[in-house]
């Protein structure tokens, strides 16, 4: 019997099977940020176990509140910073050279096909875009990962979603993943892997694949995953060219992390997107999804473009194209956070930052802050935010606020209109 991508990665990393259904796997990388790691560090210190399993396999970034907003967040940064120095963890990205973890770690080439990666952050599922097994964990799992380079999981059952059909105008990866979450529900893939497959995924760039995999957790999935192919090789080429003679050789090597044709799945869903419309969420659950046109006219106080879901260069390009030559409505404020310093630089060079500024957007440094209501774009009680982020939970971007999730295109169109509107209207601008 053939195997899925997840099963192949898993089988090559199992080191123990402590009881039926539980597998301890070896980790290729452990990623850290300043919100969930300091408590793990403090606990290791208090136990007299201030050690790391492998300095070269641990990467760290300050991304949630950057620059620090108060003494408490300054201390979180300090604990992480001093720990990386103490243990000579060289891949540490401090204020000024940092970025949202799930954008900067792939950008630096740290995510490779076949890798097993954990991080104290639920959107670690993003790394499946590279044919890797990336899973979000809590602080204790992270602590053991840092100390021992292992983590325990159930055996990965996979739901395969074949995405096919011509992508309609105005529809993007965000609309596709919202449609899938709406279809299977917030509990639809709990304890499972979602393998995104089919011609639509094969034709997507890495930024779009990361958007898809990023929100797999919103359906409960452990990880979203895509088969590595030439698109993956092209993205990683600068980092892997010493390992492989040609791109074709790299692609061939990565084939061992593609699912076999006779692999067995828990479920296979065929998802035709030919008639998909731009989507938006309503209320407090990511599976509450409606076509944008049904929410047309909904008053918005703030538009936010950014995050590990939609703060990459492709996202900014799409939004800037719509904004160029337009002013955002006086009735709202617009905020954009390029996801990494490198994306910021690229956006400057391409005139994207200028387009945002001229339209009336506030451009912030790279940060996760607004998405979870920690900094750089918190909304007030009773306010509504149109956002390219990943969660519309009660209080998510600020206590008593409401969040409507959407694509960068719909967010840009909404910023100009002053209310939720169909991005199709703006597609050709």
């Amino acid at each position: 019997m053939g195997k899925t991508i997840a099963e192949k990665i898993f089988d090559s990393h199992i080191i123990d099977n402590p009881c039926e259904g539980i597998y301890v796997i070896r980790l290729d990388a452990v990623f850290c940020h300043e919100i969930t790691t300091p408590i793990a560090i403090n606990d290791l210190v208090s136990r007299g176990k201030d050690r790391v399993f492998d300095t070269s396999r641990i990467k760290a970034v300050i991304d949630h509140v950057t620059p620090a907003k108060d003494s408490k967040t300054a201390l979180q940064g300090k604990i992480l910073r001093e720990w990386t120095r103490r243990h000579k963890i060289n891949d540490f990205f401090d204020v000024g050279r940092n970025g949202v973890c799930h954008a900067i770690f792939p950008e630096k080439g740290f995510v490779r096909p076949g890798y097993t990666i954990i991080m104290g952050d639920s959107h670690t599922c993003t790394y499946g875009a590279f044919g890797a097994f990336g899973a979000g964990v809590g602080t204790t799992d992270l602590e053991v990962g840092i100390l021992k380079g292992v983590c325990a999981f159930g055996y990965p059952e996979t739901i395969k979603i074949n995405i096919y059909g011509k992508i309609p105008d105005g529809v993007f990866a965000k609309d596709i993943i919202l449609s899938i979450i709406g279809l299977i529900g917030v509990n639809g893939a709990t304890n499972k892997i979602i393998e995104f497959a089919g011609p639509v995924v094969e034709n997507m760039g890495m930024d779009a694949r990361m958007t898809l995999c990023n929100m797999a957790i919103e359906a409960g999935a452990t990880c979203g995953i895509c088969a590595p192919d030439m698109t993956t090789v092209e993205y990683l080429w600068d980092f892997i060219k010493d390992e492989y003679k040609t791109k074709e050789a790299a692609q061939n090597a990565f084939k061992k992390y593609c699912s076999d044709p006779d692999a067995s799945y828990e479920k296979i869903i065929d998802h035709d997107i030919s008639n998909l419309e731009p989507l938006v969420t309503f209320w407090y659950k990511p599976d509450n999804v409606k076509p944008v046109r049904e929410m047309e006219g909904t008053k918005i106080d703030q538009v936010y473009i950014g995050s590990c879901t939609n703060g990459r260069i492709e996202d900014l390009r799409v939004a800037a194209k719509i904004l160029k030559g337009n002013k955002i409505s006086d009735s709202l404020r617009g905020i954009v956070s390029p996801a990494t310093t490198e994306i910021y630089r690229q956006a400057l060079n391409e005139g994207i930052i200028a387009a945002f500024l001229e339209s009336g957007f506030c451009v912030t440094n790279p940060t996760c802050g607004a998405c979870l209501g920690m900094s750089n774009g918190i909304i007030a009680e009773g306010e509504t935010c149109a956002s390219t982020t990943n969660r519309n939970f009660s209080g998510r971007m600020g206590k008593g606020g409401m969040v409507h999730l959407m694509s960068p295109a719909t967010a840009a169109a909404t910023a100009i209109a002053g209310h939720i509107t169909n991005s199709k209207l703006y597609k050709s601008i």
Partner: protein, 174 residues
């Protein structure tokens, strides 16, 4: 081992996420105890008063997919510092469930129809829960009503509860 017996708090809603359990604005705390007043502050549930309804409770009985969303272990910690070490539901989000057992706490699953039955019989009464960990039973009592249910967790999770968590277990083994 932690305490798993005492008064029950019923949360009659599915998909309660970790942002509702402990909002991100409190994730800047470096001490678990500081989370205590903020447990369930943002829960989207009519009539729920997190200042009073949590007091004196030791266990939670709730609906499907409890603890979905963010990976923050601050969610179990916020329960722990409020002396709640046990949550019972038809199902949990993967990360939340792991975090509970990793802390030596318990996230126990019962079939959805059993949870439905428990809600219909007990949720309108002052209910006590007694956990018999050794024999594997959960006993619910409200006035003259008393019912017991099988406590089913994996051997691995049992080992974590006994060891006090995953750090101790992993450090001695790997």
């Amino acid at each position: 081992m932690k305490n798993f017996s005492g008064k029950v708090l019923f949360l009659n809603r599915a998909d309660i996420n970790t942002d509702e359990i402990i909002p991100a604005r409190y994730l800047t705390e470096n001490a678990k105890e500081a989370l205590k007043p903020y447990l369930l502050e943002d829960i989207n549930m009519e009539g729920f008063d997190n200042k009073n309804d949590i007091k004196g409770k030791a266990a939670i009985i709730t609906r499907e997919n409890f603890g979905c969303g963010s990976s923050r272990e601050h969610a179990p910690w916020a329960f722990e510092v409020n002396d709640i070490n046990l949550v019972i539901a038809p199902g949990f989000a993967r990360i939340f469930k792991r975090n509970m057992f990793n802390c030596g706490m318990m996230a126990v699953e019962l079939p959805a129809e059993t949870i439905e039955h428990i809600f219909s019989v007990f949720s309108n009464h002052d209910t006590d829960l007694e956990t018999d960990f050794g024999n594997g039973f959960l006993i619910l009592k409200a006035g003259d009503i008393k019912e017991s249910f099988e406590l089913k967790i994996t051997e691995f999770d049992k080992a974590l509860v006994k060891a006090g968590g995953w750090v101790e277990y992993a450090d001695s083994k790997y």
